[in-house]
Subunit: 176 residues, 2 copies
DNA sequence: TATTTTCTTGATAAGTCGGTCGTGATAAGG
DNA sequence: CCTTATCACGACCGACTTATCAAGAAAATA
């Protein structure tokens, strides 16, 4: 599956939520409610974002999480690399260890171009751009604002559904 | 990780190998040797490619596998969808179920464009283009030809290495 | 200092993916 | 018909990802 890990998706949503909430300390519980991410798991994601220096945590009464840098300094690539490691967008589409210009896999040239393009876009898109899109589209992360909570608690079961569908595809059924 | 599944990478390599071998029935064992894919697992991959109609299998003495269609009619997208299902390149980068123009996730617009681009390229790249690249680059799949077997048995441990590296990144170490 | 709040972190579990093995089915040739 | 070569396919395993829960540590406040 050519896509980010679900954990990475969670991280992007959580950071966007923090940005929407604008500067104040936000509880893990609030982020979970706002984004629909299961709270216990979100805690772990937030923790690893803390370790990677993208957000800061404050324990105890009136604590919570906040962005560690200005929103325009947090790109989607930063998030992807914080979660999935430096090779969040791997060099070889097929996963070969020694795929290089001299010893290329069949998709090497195509992917080299495509990868650059994807990385450039992920680098360009920061939390600010993301928030702009949201405002233009009137989408759901706006529900982080106290006065606008009609969209809250929207769950994200896409990956699960897809995965189920896929395994049905692959092993079950049509064994003509 | 923004990349194809390892199984899908295997499938592409196996099909390229079949194409290189040009028409004749090729044993699973030969494909495994030529590509470096572990043979028992390759058998499963080949089996599912057979079910999805990309290759044909022949049992018994002098059996093996062969492409089911002309090489220029097998695109990388065909392979990806055969292995990972119709949503091999998912509609929402973050894995949201109800991500649509009206109710978009923060990355919806970017990904809509990017996804089209990726799919178009995967659709354009068939086994023929792949083989052309190989010939130009003088790369290893040529070892499928009997007279050119110096590159055979090259293993592909990239994904494994990356995954190890990643988990070291994520949980072990630097818990400052 | 005691209490409350909140993040931290380890134990645990289910599901999927990558990988192995062995048995059964089937095709060709003697 | 028997043997041999080969794919088909189910059982199984370990690792990783996603997810849950609960006990522990730290910070603020009374």
């Amino acid at each position: 599956m050519l896509c980010l890990s679900q954990t990475c998706g969670y991280a992007i949503l959580a950071l966007s939520c923090l940005h929407e909430c604008g500067g104040r300390w936000v509880l893990a519980r609030e982020i979970a409610r706002c984004t629909g991410i299961p709270q216990p798991y979100l805690s772990k994601v937030l923790h690893s974002l803390t370790r990677r220096g993208l957000i800061v945590a404050k324990r105890g009464y009136q604590g919570g999480f906040a962005l560690a840098r200005a929103p325009h300094q947090i790109s989607l690539l930063d998030v992807a690399e914080a979660i999935d490691g430096a090779q969040a967008v791997p060099r070889c589409l097929l996963g070969l260890a020694d795929c290089s210009p001299e010893r290329a896999c069949p998709t090497h040239r195509f992917w080299q171009r495509e990868r650059e393009h994807i990385m450039a876009e992920l680098r360009r898109l920061t939390l600010v751009e993301v928030a702009q899109f949201e405002r233009q589209d009137g989408t759901w992360l706006g529900s982080c604002h106290p006065r606008n909570s009609r969209h809250a608690n929207r769950r994200r079961s896409a990956r699960t559904a897809t995965v189920n569908g896929r395994s049905r595809h692959r092993d079950g059924g049509n064994r003509s």
